[in-house]
């Protein structure tokens, strides 16, 4: 609805936005204040009001700081550029083709794979003792021992960037597909008629409109790439590690002074993320200027066959890397003895699964509990917010969108670090509910993002008809709107579930080691390098969200098997 005037809110539903604001902003604000206080050595409670920058200078003087900073920065900018390029090229090339739905079907499981599991799979694939080298050894390569190549954990972070790109591509694909229905695709016919090549025509006509909608998710990607800890621990550089890993080390140092250095580092990390976002914003203007120039000069770029093949190849490689990586995880979980250069395990065994089953069940079940509750509660909040928007005729403002996205834009290490200190002081750290609450802060934006467009695309005239039949708003919500929106609602829940399962830092820091989940266990195993164990845990970590994604696709099909119009809704699936 396009009404902007705010009407008085009689129902309790009006409280929901306030609740959401509290959920999102209060922890963030509190943790940032805690961080600043810690970083500047402010002992306000002791009555001593003094601040000093000694922690900040300690961070700057830390060995390898400049390299860590540069690393976070270049990864944070480079990976989204590549991911965006690949996704746009691909969609531009194949949007009209019939195989597109099939690609979308393949992309969804890839989306369900947690970042860390994808990184593990990539690790097993491209490491010098990994699968690709084993395939060609020893017949072609002549290697009887793994070559001493610096591929994974390389100091420049290239394998790290690759691990991020292969997961960013499905996510950007997903948000783009959600944004497509908002754009009038007939424009492509117009530009085709003007003689533009397929790819360039799409980029000129459709991309700008899409970009506006995917801008915030893209910023979330940049923030994640500059500050991720779990992927960095798996496949990132070691000497020196990215700044986020360094901050984690300082945070866990028994030397008290290091704690404030960690806080200072976290604030610098926020600065890096904001700088990367600023550079991106400048880049946007640059690209706009270039595109305008190209448009004015009438460049048509008709000969784009190579570009289309290139886009398709890159997309195929990216998906293939993830799929092959997951397959390798499965192989390793059943491998008994698998020494270089064998391409397949020499001895197969169930031993790893049997011996790990108790721990897999315990940590997997805990992760599932946390994810079900945090995603469920977030879904309830999102539905309540959206319904409140509808009933009160509010259109969500740009500022509100930004507020919803703030948890995704602030580096987790900074935010969760400050929060864990706060929770320790409040005595609620280590509890399951504390972990669930913090998970909700990250799950809510994703659930909202997934559900907002399908919700707005819903034809509200159905509700008008229902009202004329004398039914209340509440009843219409449960009996008209929700059933029709079943597929997007379940998809949003599945995505929220996946986001919660994959959370590492919040579970680790807020849970204080008392709430091990499948993700914390998997990352903890990463350093040992025992591939059998890593494979087993990573598989379970992947299967959990995958189950819910599959359910989210299946349930609507079964529930509405006799409702043709409800079968394949375009938006948000």
């Amino acid at each position: 609805m396009a009404g902007i005037k705010k009407l008085p809110l009689p129902s309790q539903l009006g409280l929901v936005p306030i609740l959401v604001l509290i959920l999102l902003l209060v922890p963030i604000g509190a943790s940032i204040i805690t961080l600043i206080g810690s970083a500047t050595n402010w002992h306000g409670l002791a009555g001593v009001f003094s601040i000093d920058g000694s922690s900040f200078s300690a961070v700057l003087a830390a060995p390898g700081f400049a390299k860590s900073l540069a690393l976070s920065f270049w990864i944070g900018l480079f990976t989204p550029i590549i991911a965006l390029l690949v996704v746009m090229l691909f969609i531009a090339s194949f949007n009209n083709s019939g195989g597109f739905v099939w690609v979308w079907a393949v992309m969804k499981p890839v989306l369900a794979v947690p970042h860390a599991a994808a990184a593990f799979g990539l690790l097993f694939l491209i490491a010098p003792s990994g699968f690709l080298v084993r395939l060609v050894s020893p017949e072609i390569s002549g290697f009887l021992r793994p070559p001493d190549w610096l591929i994974v954990n390389d100091p420049a972070g290239i394998s790290f960037a690759l691990a991020l790109v292969v997961k960013e591509i499905p996510f950007l694909f997903f948000v783009t597909m959600a944004a497509l229905p908002q754009v009038d695709l007939r424009r492509t016919k117009i530009v085709a008629g003007l003689g533009y090549g397929q790819v360039w025509g799409w980029l000129v006509a459709i991309f700008p409109a899409i970009y506006l909608q995917i801008r915030l998710p893209l910023f979330a990607v940049i923030a994640f790439a500059t500050s991720t800890v779990d992927v960095a621990l798996v496949i990132g550089p070691v000497t020196p590690p990215p700044l986020s890993v360094q901050i984690l080390r300082w945070m866990n140092d028994p030397d008290l002074a290091k704690r404030s250095i960690a806080a200072a580092g976290a604030i610098i990390q926020v600065g890096i993320t904001l700088s990367a976002l600023l550079v991106w914003w400048l880049g946007e203007h640059l690209v706009m200027a270039l595109a305008r120039m190209a448009a004015l000069r009438g460049w048509r770029f008709r000969a784009d066959l190579f570009v289309r093949i290139f886009g398709a190849t890159l997309m195929a490689i990216s998906v293939g890397l993830v799929v092959l990586g997951i397959a390798l995880l499965v192989l390793w979980s059943f491998a008994g003895v698998w020494r270089f250069p064998s391409s397949l395990p020499e001895v197969w065994t169930f031993k790893t699964w049997f011996s790990q089953m108790p721990n897999l069940l315990e940590t997997g079940w805990r992760a599932t509990k946390i994810a079900l509750v945090s995603s469920g509660l977030s879904l309830v909040l999102v539905l309540a917010s959206l319904e409140n928007e509808y009933r009160s005729n509010i259109q969500i403002t740009r500022i509100a969108w930004w507020i919803i996205f703030i948890p995704l834009l602030i580096p987790q290490i900074a935010f969760v670090g400050g929060l864990s200190v706060l929770f320790l002081k409040l005595g609620i750290d280590g509890t399951l509910w504390a972990v669930i609450m913090v998970h909700m802060i990250f799950v809510f934006p994703y659930v909202y993002l997934t559900l907002a467009d399908p919700w707005n695309a819903f034809d509200t005239r159905y509700l008008n008809v229902a009202r004329t039949l004398g039914k209340s708003d509440n009843r219409n919500f449960w009996y008209v709107r929700l059933p029709i929106l079943l597929a997007p609602v379940l998809a949003a829940f599945a995505l929220g579930f996946a986001v919660s399962i994959a959370q590492y830092l919040p579970t680790l820091l807020i849970g204080a080691g008392r709430q091990p989940t499948i993700s914390t266990e998997a990352i903890a195993l990463a350093s040992g390098g025992n591939r059998r164990l890593i494979g087993t845990y990573a598989i379970v970590q992947t299967m959990l969200p995958f189950i819910f994604f599959a359910l989210a696709s299946l349930i609507p099909k079964i529930a509405w098997s006799n409702r043709q119009a409800l079968q394949a809704t375009r938006a948000g699936k």
């Binding site: 060995p63 793994p146 001493d148 100091p155 070691v238 028994p254 011996s355 080691g513 195993l525 350093s527």
Partner: protein, 411 residues
């Protein structure tokens, strides 16, 4: 002082004098009371979780203390013991003097020294009063009473001993006649002749720091200087040959020294993957354990440096604010029992050496140790050579910091 205040002070003093050092700390000399108090408690044992063998052993301990004493044991897997120290310290800072998150911690060395000096442990000695402590070899093994030169003072309970041991595949072509490089000179020459086939764990990981200390022992003139802390000039002077040695081997390390191993498990995996030819561990039984598991070939053998091997003991300690102190004491005592110690040193399970003195054990207790045979890859007592005791805890921290500065930042 007014009359009322005097009375108040008198009563307070009397009360303090009558109560034990800390009213909430169980007295191990009254073992029946400890047993009774421990029943039904849940003990959170923060222990390094990077080795599946050890985790499986700890799970067995959990089953035993549950069935025998009614204590529920939960292992909180950690990657760095320093994190646990930081945790307890943070709890002390915010004033949490009860219901701490950590009941028992697997600890030694500089972490123990940090906890002891910052008052994070129990206030009075307890481990020396545990029933099974009498069976340990504390008279002869100095490592059980002096932890990196810091007196134990009964604040931590011995669990196992350790000695830096290297292991390798004797059938590999990298070793002439299967003979490993057992001196620092030989090792340096071997690394040069086999580039990319040797690495160590990056400090501050424990085995990485121990490797630095091992090399330092081999290069320093007067080892007595390591028994106490040193100022900056002395430190630079003493460690100069160490950095020179590391500088020389750095370009020929695995991955050219751009990446280091993460811990002992990672080193074992690298050897198993044939990425490196020499690995190292604290546990003299680890190589045999790995052979038994099928991870390493039957031709795997161990060796130590010819001038001695850095040795220490590892312990379990109870923080001051632990929630289940009695339960933790029960667990600590059980860990020292002959049955638990024998199972621990069984190479098919873990292979960690025992802290017990065989002369003190009766026939039944000895029988637990009977069925074990050492694997081929484990060194005999004579071959294991002299033990070099750990230097003062200062050296661990100082070496870590300097190593990070020189090699940890990709210089």
């Amino acid at each position: 002082m007014s009359g009322f205040k005097k009375l108040h002070a008198l009563l307070a003093g009397a009360f303090l004098a009558l109560s034990p050092a800390s009213a909430s700390e169980p007295d191990p000399q009254n073992w029946d009371m400890v047993l009774a108090e421990a029943k039904g408690q849940e003990v959170f044992w923060h222990a390094w979780g990077g080795s599946e063998n050890i985790n499986a052993y700890i799970a067995w301990v959990g089953e035993e203390v549950e069935s025998r004493f009614g204590v529920t044991l939960t292992q909180v897997k950690i990657s760095e013991t320093a994190n646990v120290v930081a945790r307890v310290l943070a709890e002390k800072e915010v004033g949490r003097t009860e219901n701490g998150a950590v009941d028992l911690v697997w600890i030694n060395g500089e972490n123990f020294a940090a906890m002891k000096r910052q008052g994070l442990l129990l206030s009075s000695p307890w481990s020396t009063f545990l029933p099974n402590y009498q069976l340990t070899d504390f008279e002869n093994k100095a490592v059980l009473t002096s932890d990196f030169t810091e007196p134990v003072d009964g604040l931590e309970s011995p669990w196992g001993t350790a000695q830096l041991t290297f292991y390798y595949d004797s059938a590999s072509s990298a070793f002439v006649d299967g003979v490993p490089p057992a001196s620092l000179d030989d090792l340096e020459k071997w690394i040069e002749a086999n580039p990319g086939r040797f690495t160590y764990a990056a400090p501050p990981n424990f085995i990485g720091t121990t490797f630095l200390k091992q090399v330092l022992y081999g290069l320093v003139d007067d080892i007595s200087v390591l028994r106490q802390p040193a100022d900056k000039e002395t430190f630079d002077l003493v460690t100069a040959p160490l950095w020179a040695w590391l500088d020389r081997v750095q370009p020929n390390l695995w991955r050219s020294g751009q990446v280091f191993a993460a811990d002992t498990t990672n080193l074992k995996t690298l050897l198993s993957d044939n990425e490196i030819d020499i690995s190292m561990t604290f546990n003299p039984g680890e190589a045999s354990s790995a052979v038994f598991e099928g991870l390493l070939p039957q031709t795997t053998r161990s060796f130590v440096m010819d001038y001695g091997s850095v040795g220490n003991a590892h312990f379990v300690a109870i923080p001051f604010n632990a929630n289940a102190k009695a339960g933790a004491m029960i667990v600590a005592n059980f860990l020292m029992s002959p049955e638990a110690q024998a199972r621990k040193s069984n190479e098919e399970i873990w292979g960690d050496p025992t802290v017990l003195a065989f002369e003190k054990l009766n026939a039944e207790q000895l029988s637990y140790f009977d069925s074990m045979a050492s694997g081929e890859a484990t060194l005999g007592i004579e071959e294991a050579g002299a033990t070099l005791s750990e230097p003062d805890a200062f050296w661990s921290d100082a070496l870590d910091a300097e190593w990070l500065r020189r090699y940890g930042a990709g210089n």
